[in-house]
Symmetry: C2
């Protein structure tokens, strides 16, 4: 019969912290944008807008591809606007949505804020 | 008195789509990870784990920095494990959480899936 030492082991708790972690204010700010991206319909809408010429699309072109009512689509678009990922402009009867230049690069940079050493440098 | 043409303008609805947008299955998959990142406490926990030597930390080192009960912290850590961002291993009485190598790079790549032309190439 062998001894099972699992329950009596005392692991070396408290590994060394090697750098500062994300501060609470930055965490709030980054989380808001990730939350906006955390919905499949919103990701598709963002992608459809980005896939249009000039990274801008009329709301009239966005309802059919996602198969949802315009009110639902407008709600999702508002979340993306509020998160700073899209801008909205009114032209005549239609609202147009455009990808904010650099917004997704900013999201990529926020990943580096979370864990700088975990990202492979590109080049 | 000038004519206001706003109400009678007929904008050229239906701009050109210049590429394929994100497919629904990929959108579901990416949104799940962004949703896990869409909470300030979870971002801080991820960052604290990554800031430890070897990008691994004991749960006993994670409650105090975020100022929350261990049950709440464990719930958030489970969401990060389920999203494939952390792994959990048991050693004696403590659970240890480690950053999944390449997981945040994968998140960065999923941004490129959403809007490839919007990301500035690094190099």
């Amino acid at each position: 019969m062998s001894l099972d030492l699992t329950d009596v082991s005392t692991p070396d708790c408290c590994a060394t912290v090697v750098r500062e972690s994300l501060d609470p204010a930055a965490a709030e700010q980054h989380a808001r944008v990730f939350k906006a991206l955390g919905d499949p319909t919103r990701l598709r809408l963002l992608s459809i807008v980005a896939a249009h010429d000039g990274a801008e699309a009329c709301v009239c072109d966005l309802t059919e591809p996602v198969g949802l009512a315009q009110a639902t689509v407008s709600h999702h678009l508002k979340v993306l606007v509020d998160a700073g990922l899209l801008t909205r402009s009114q032209r005549g009867k239609w609202g147009y949505y455009a990808l904010v230049p650099g917004a997704l690069d900013q999201v990529a940079r926020s990943l580096a804020d979370v864990a700088p050493e975990s990202l492979i440098p590109h080049g």
